[in-house]
Symmetry: C2
Amino acid sequence: MTQTNSVPGPVSPVSGHQLAVTPLGLHEVTLTGGFWGQWQRQNREVTTPHALAWLERDGSVDNLRRLGQGDPGPHRGMWFSDSDLYKVLEGVSWDLGREPDEHLAGVVRDMAAIIAAAQEPDGYLNSYVQGGHQVRWDNLVTSHELYCMGHLIQAGVAHKRATGGDELLDVVRRVADCVVRDFGDLRRKDTDGHPEIEMALVELYRVTGHAPYLDLARQLIDVRGHRVLAAEGHFDSAYYLDATPVREQSTVVGHAVRALYLLSGVIDVYLETGEQALLDAAVRQWSSMVASKLYLTGAVGSRFEGESFGDEYELPPDLAYGETCATIALIQASWRLLLATGESRFADVIERALHNLFAASTSVERNAFFYNNPAQRRSARPAAPLDTRPSRAEAPGTRPQWFPCACCPPNIMRTIAALAGHVATRTDDGLQIHLYLPATIDTPVASLTMQTQYPLDGAVTVTVTATREEPWTLALRVPDWCRGASATVNGESVPVGSEGYVRINRTWQTGDVVAFTMPMPARFTVAHPSVDAVRGEVAIERGPVVYCLESPDSPDGVDLNHIEVLVDEPLAERVAEDLPGGPGVVVEVAAVMRDDSAWAGTGWFALDEEPAESGRRVTLTAIPYRLWANRGPSVMRIFVPAQRSDRR
Amino acid sequence: MTQTNSVPGPVSPVSGHQLAVTPLGLHEVTLTGGFWGQWQRQNREVTTPHALAWLERDGSVDNLRRLGQGDPGPHRGMWFSDSDLYKVLEGVSWDLGREPDEHLAGVVRDMAAIIAAAQEPDGYLNSYVQGGHQVRWDNLVTSHELYCMGHLIQAGVAHKRATGGDELLDVVRRVADCVVRDFGDLRRKDTDGHPEIEMALVELYRVTGHAPYLDLARQLIDVRGHRVLAAEGHFDSAYYLDATPVREQSTVVGHAVRALYLLSGVIDVYLETGEQALLDAAVRQWSSMVASKLYLTGAVGSRFEGESFGDEYELPPDLAYGETCATIALIQASWRLLLATGESRFADVIERALHNLFAASTSVERNAFFYNNPAQRRSARPAAPLDTRPSRAEAPGTRPQWFPCACCPPNIMRTIAALAGHVATRTDDGLQIHLYLPATIDTPVASLTMQTQYPLDGAVTVTVTATREEPWTLALRVPDWCRGASATVNGESVPVGSEGYVRINRTWQTGDVVAFTMPMPARFTVAHPSVDAVRGEVAIERGPVVYCLESPDSPDGVDLNHIEVLVDEPLAERVAEDLPGGPGVVVEVAAVMRDDSAWAGTGWFALDEEPAESGRRVTLTAIPYRLWANRGPSVMRIFVPAQRSDRR
């Protein structure tokens, strides 16, 4: 068992007063294989060198390096390219905390030296501005200066926590002190068009105990909502989260990543200050989002236009934007709300997001990425070009290796590297397990080993390998999709209540074995009747996994644009050995391939002249959505028109 | 009756060989009131001064004026702002042809002088390039140089035909000669990223008889399709209509306006050269578009991203882009195909486009415009700001007065000014009437008076006021939506066949009266089953008019996001006196306001746990879609979920 006062991981509030559940320390959870453990290894061995190479190639490192050499030259890439490097450094730092490595440590040291050399004497740091392309603080609406600094701060915090080193943190404190000097105590009343620094400043406060960082985070939240931020002829203040004060906002609007980064900062400030209005606003926005602006895959931000949230129930699969970063921000906000409330619904959303959109964002080889994530593809688009960076607008048929705006891949990297932090929490009364994956949990309360093939099946075994003597409660999340969960301790049944967690209170002994079983038959899912885009359609889910139909699995002659599934016939499951990334469960579904020839040439009919439907029976194979587009360009859909056999 | 060799109107082919039907001359059709006649008057009295004022205010005129004064200064507005002025001049020119006016004629003379003074000695003309902002012909992918010149050519052609004046035509010929000199005979093998000049050059050939213009138009079509045009990190060659050679293209792709301007040019070249492969390609593309990429409103180009065509059946109403210019381009292409084939389906699409999207694009006062036209609005957005130009991205709740990219309003103006040209055609055998509106038709075959309140009702009376002595055939289009059309001549029934036109061949007498009746009960319409976005939904149509439900007409407590219409109950029609723009027919429909409270907090359910539907009966009032957003910001929808009473 670990001692108390372990090394804090990501999002480690100093004030315990607002914590319904407390995050575990950086070394208190270790992934021990399985899907996520394997990805964590690939993240280190494949994605990290891939990303570092691209950051050199696209100028992101060089923009800073040349500054330190006194010869900035023309800036390459996006004006906020610094942030890509910072996010990679954050990810590598968490990874170093997990498993030290001299080479990787050296990479971070070198980068920290490059960044330190680029920094102005007064602490300011932004390669685009310092390169002479813009005036400092002159265009906060679009400059991303505080946004980039926020990511640098997060990298510095991660590096300090994970390695104990001060190289990056020293740079970060000078940056933060510069911002406090210029903006603190309302010396400036404006803020960045792209929120991010708010949560970073709270984390820096947690590491340093320096209150002005927390005060500034709150100020940067307070100044929003007065319609100052807007770019004429481009985006309005709702896009910049500046149309309504945070405490009055009832739902999520505007640019999805910005909205959820801001929300995460708002909850972070609540977690330290206890200002109830902030939590209320955050829960209100989150609840509205989950009820009416969240895709089944965990995608948020339906609109290409402004990469923004749409109206309620505006959730078209074929035109879903679903930026990878937005779902990562959703996970960040949901995790903070879980800490604040202890409610399982926040973990349910995290699980949904991780197993579906987040997992789909990255190729099974972990070296290619989707920026936006469609939930339906009606035609197979050309494959992403190798070795170049297509714009996100082109939305190719397979995952590109990198992007001109490369925000997503580093965001994926840091999320995977720090994933252990989302597995479990503690209270004075015990431990709560939120995510099921092979792991060891090593806390002052007890040490546990969790074994599972989840989500391949729903069996989880938790073995107590050490425990305190006093009784404590082990809480296991019962996912919202799960019906009929059961649990035993050493073979004896324990009751499973109807709330979000099975809670088992007892005097635990080393060697106790908890067997938790979540039945996960494949099921059909229907969307809210106001989601016109998938009206009369069903999706297939199994446990936390959203399935899709993809053209490589279609029988000859089947076009996924003309099928209907027979929802009164049973779904059949089988293990397929040849799925991308390894064996997995596929679902076979009875369907009809419609013969739409009576519609040839026209897009509509008068209702009373509508041709009768006809077609032939086919059996289709659904695969986990996260695996799509790993076998070349394809047609894909999640929701499918529903038909009953008896109505044909 | 007019003499032959009347003044040609827009699109007047020189070669008769490819004409199934021949357009009438500029003075052979006169609108005599009604909806379109009134709009034509408003276009002259309201829209024209409104547009001229904005063109001064936004710099479009001044950019050219300052060039002529030798002091270009910084260019204001879009780099293709010249084209806005040219399109307005085209519209005013057609209007002058309709009804001469010394003031308006003076405006055109003044503008022609400004344009002439700006022109380079070698004929080149582009205020952005001449202002030093770009190098001539250096960036054809995005420069819009040939695009702007195309619009100038169209203005010059219109002015020449309508007024006989040479002021603009002289400028235009120097421009065209400059392009021929630099591009003709494949001296350059590239072309503009935005097609437009192709149809302009064919029209200039028609006015001048100068074959190199036609040759160049064909060349600019031939050079497309070799993936030369692309803007890295921005748009691909499909967007620029350069991914596939025109003759091989099977469906419409890419930027919708560009695609249909190019298609119009392709048909124009066919009409003069008779190259069958061009017509085949055009009919193939058009047919594919109408079957799977056309909205009920006549909107085309479903995607915001790239203002482009989507995949087949990708027709989401809430995220419809539906640029006004794209539907105008659809009308242009369809008209040319009607001339080439004489088939009613092309006129059917023109009618649909005119009465719905085109009419909806403009406020009933005719001084405000939609750039993009949603087919569903789930929430009421803020009204368009008065007296400023919002970007199209903001997509406000009401029509803005003008736009930073002001392509649409002038396009509407020139279409309305020249609308008489689309009403009827002739053959050696007689006359064909394609559009029903109050008009006089005055041709060498006969003179007719058409009286109707269409589409208020479906009764059309055609009176022969003069006729040649030999028998001829009067053809009246039977719209695709019409069932049970009937016709009488002097009270005696004549047979109405099943093809697209009633054809009445006889020896006509002055005073003969044809009464043509199109029953137009309100009807429900369903979309192709592959259009997932409106699956299980119905629209309401009456005659050529698409209806919508809009929140100002909703009873208290009704939210249009939660209703279902009862499709087995009758639709009721009544005349409403208080509609925007005057009295009209509204349709009352039985519906259910769903109680979705069982869904509170969640966006989906397992199919076997889906809450039973409940709700209360309401009666809703549908208004013509063209009138929406004339009463302030609103919620609006065209397609509505369908329900049968017996299934509740």
